[in-house]
């Protein structure tokens, strides 16, 4: 069976007064039915732009989209806006970051779910209402037959996100995109929402894309992980591989900067120096090189001049865009895991922080 979602060589550029913003610059991935893909990256790495691009929500903006987004074999980039609108909400649905501002303040939660259902299903209001009540019950809202008539502001944060999920699931979508679904929520509620998403996924059999900057979230849910940096794929592979044998210095940075329960508390967290680059002036060569601690290990300034291709180096199905050799990666990750930095000095750190191109405002 063909993959449900196949994104190949997708670019999404925005022409602005300050220059061309390369928000997404040639990313590819594949998502099978029933699987979960986690897209990880810092703010401004192009995660949300990618998901909005899949949903066709860049319509009417200045976005220039090239490449292919194939949903069940159908290319959404070249499809007519009317066709994409038909698929939106029915075959693919999306949950957003801030559930309060994502729900309309003037309509009841029920009315909004009913609306979502009735766009794609010719049913009476009564049937749709019952469906909305069932959905609210399914996502764990107590007394759904009462709460269906509440407004968003009468819901708690977690309930709002549950309602958003109910709305997204109203038409039984095959693809569910969750854009930072837990960012605006309490930690305790976060776990509930994530559990709910994975429960519903196994129940409905949909494919899920979870977009987050929180590695903990993807670790829990994802089968595959795509690490994005500056609009490109830094590393892509099975979750176990990404967490067990990460191949890209950026991923190492993300992992090393995260506190872990299974490590000694005296182990120091290692931050990634510098800030993400402007997407108008992406550094030449490897976009991560101004912040990378390992450029010294690559001969001939290739990091600064040559864009590293996304290659499977160590294990099949696990690709990273880095010039380091397989042996170097294994050794450096082992050192970093033990709390050891290359050269044991902060030299590239200082350089990176002062790098002017990294400070260009977007």
């Amino acid at each position: 069976m063909a993959a449900l979602l196949e994104v190949s060589d997708l670019t999404i550029h925005f022409q602005t007064d300050d220059g061309l913003v390369r928000a997404v610059d040639g990313i590819s991935f594949v998502l099978e039915r029933g699987r979960t893909l986690g897209i990880v990256g810092e703010s401004g790495s192009g995660k949300s732009v990618t998901s909005m691009g899949i949903m066709g929500l860049h319509q009417g903006t200045k976005a220039r989209i090239t490449g292919h987004i194939r949903l069940d074999g159908e290319d959404l980039v070249t499809a007519s806006p009317a066709r994409v609108r038909e698929l939106r909400g029915s075959k693919m649905a999306m949950i957003f970051q801030d559930p309060l501002s994502s729900l309309h303040p003037y309509y009841t939660v029920g009315a909004q779910i009913i609306e979502a259902y009735r766009v794609h299903n010719k049913v009476s209001k009564k049937v749709a209402r019952q469906h909305a009540i069932d959905l609210l019950g399914r996502v764990g809202i107590p007394q759904p037959q009462v709460r269906v008539d509440d407004f968003a502001h009468q819901f708690s944060g977690g309930m709002r996100q549950r309602a958003m999920i109910a709305m997204a699931l109203s038409c039984d979508p095959e693809l569910l995109i969750a854009d930072e679904p837990t960012t605006a929520l309490d930690v305790t509620v976060q776990a509930q929402i994530l559990d709910l998403i994975s429960d519903l996924q196994s129940e409905f059999g949909s494919a899920v894309i979870i977009i987050t900057h929180d590695l903990g979230v993807v670790a829990e849910l994802s089968d595959d992980i795509l690490v994005m940096y500056a609009g490109r794929v830094a590393e892509y592979g099975a979750a176990a591989d990404i967490f067990g044998r990460p191949d890209h210095p950026y991923t190492w940075g993300l992992l090393a900067s995260m506190p872990r329960l299974d490590q000694d508390r005296t182990t120091r967290l290692v931050p990634i120096p510098g800030t993400p680059p402007s997407l108008i002036r992406v550094p030449p060569g490897c976009p991560f090189h101004p912040r990378c601690r390992y450029t010294e290990l690559v001969s001939g300034n290739r990091c600064q001049t040559e864009v590293p291709p996304l290659r499977e180096v160590v294990t099949p199905g696990h690709a990273a865009a880095c010039h380091l050799t397989a042996e170097q990666r294994v050794r450096q990750w082992a050192d970093l895991s033990a709390g050891k930095l290359p050269d044991d000095a902060g030299v590239p750190q200082a350089e990176a922080a002062g790098e002017p191109e990294a400070r260009e405002p977007v």
């Binding site: 994502s102 003037y106 979502a116």
Partner: protein, 335 residues
């Protein structure tokens, strides 16, 4: 909600009482403080070259000699239940609501107000429908085509509309459409009951003139509101549902942008019902606005007081309606 309405109604009564006190004080207390006697005040009610006995009779009839609080009590009583005037020889009854007698023609004020009100109502309501429809739709289209030729053109016209006074646009409209091209010849007010067709035809120019000013204002407001709401997250949610763009704009975008529009619409309409002074004067329509102008020119105290009370009544009521509507329009507002 029902408690809120009751509370607001009570407040409204107090507010109107306060307004009546202030107007009463201006017209009866201030002259007294300035040294006018009851006799001099009474002299205003009789014609030129009156004989002193006539003035004395009026003074007694209106009770101008009585202490001010009694006079005020009589004034309020007249408005609320009507009042008997007794000048010793005969008793005259001024029925509810009594705003007294005009200096000018010795007629009760209220019937005159009532006969002029439909003119103002015709102008205000017709223009309100026009400016609301026109202003809001132009504002929405401008917001959706931000930066386009249409946007720039309509916002330019809107700027002109806000800046140009009614007596200018009104006269230009009269000159062009009434005198030069005779599309609407001989513009004068005709009652809706006597000839609805003529009523409407003659009102077209006043409507357009008045609506132009307000539509311009509303177009700018709507545009700003729409630009803001169309960037909200819930608009993205509505699109993500797969709704048609038209539905996204109207049901989700405009619905939210409409709240402030409803507010000022109520207030504007309330204000206008008290007299569309400039429009009525420009077109010589005998409405409350013209009535006000004439009353002021003639220094006709009872008429001025009557008009002030009517106008403040409309404004206070409009305020209340707006507050109640707020809860209907925005479910987050609870009282």
């Amino acid at each position: 909600m029902i408690y809120f309405i009751i509370r607001r109604l009570i407040m409204t009564v107090f507010l109107l009482l306060l307004v009546s006190m202030i107007t009463f004080a201006i017209f009866f207390l201030v002259p007294r403080l300035a040294g006018q006697t009851a006799y001099q005040l009474a002299a205003q009610y009789v014609g030129r070259n009156p004989i002193p006995s006539e003035i004395k009779a009026v003074e007694i009839k209106l009770g101008l000699n009585a202490p001010l609080y009694l006079q005020y009590g009589r004034y309020v009583k007249g408005i609320v239940v009507g009042i008997h005037y007794n000048n010793g020889t005969d008793v005259s009854y001024c029925p509810f609501p009594c705003f007294g007698y005009s200096f000018r023609n010795d007629q009760p004020v209220w019937p005159q107000l009532i006969s002029d009100a439909p003119v103002t109502l015709s102008i205000a309501v017709g223009a309100a429908v026009l400016w609301l429809l026109g202003g809001v739709s132009i504002g929405v289209l401008s917001a959706l085509r931000r930066g386009s030729f249409f946007d720039r053109l309509s916002m330019g016209i809107a700027l002109a509309g806000v800046s140009l006074p009614v007596f200018f646009t009104g006269l230009i409209a009269l000159e062009l459409f009434s005198y030069k091209w005779s599309i609407f010849p001989n513009v004068h007010y005709v009652g809706i009951t006597s000839n609805p067709l003529l009523w409407a035809r003659n009102l077209v120019l006043p409507w357009i003139t008045l609506a132009f000013l307000y539509a311009a204002l509303y177009a700018r407001l709507t545009r700003a509101g729409m630009l803001e709401t169309m960037g909200e997250d819930y608009i993205r949610t509505a699109r993500a549902k797969g709704l048609a763009e038209r539905k996204v704009v109207i049901k989700h975008g405009l619905r939210a942008a409409l709240t402030p529009i409803v507010t000022i619409f109520g207030l504007d309409l309330g204000l206008l019902l008290g007299g569309a002074i400039l429009t009525e004067t420009t077109y010589s329509f005998p409405g409350l606005g013209q009535f006000t102008i004439l009353a002021i020119q003639n220094q006709d105290l009872p008429e001025i007081m009557g008009v002030v009370m009517i106008a403040s009544f409309f404004i206070v009521i409009a305020n209340m309606v707006v507050d109640i509507l707020y809860a209907v329009v925005d479910p987050r507002v609870r009282f």
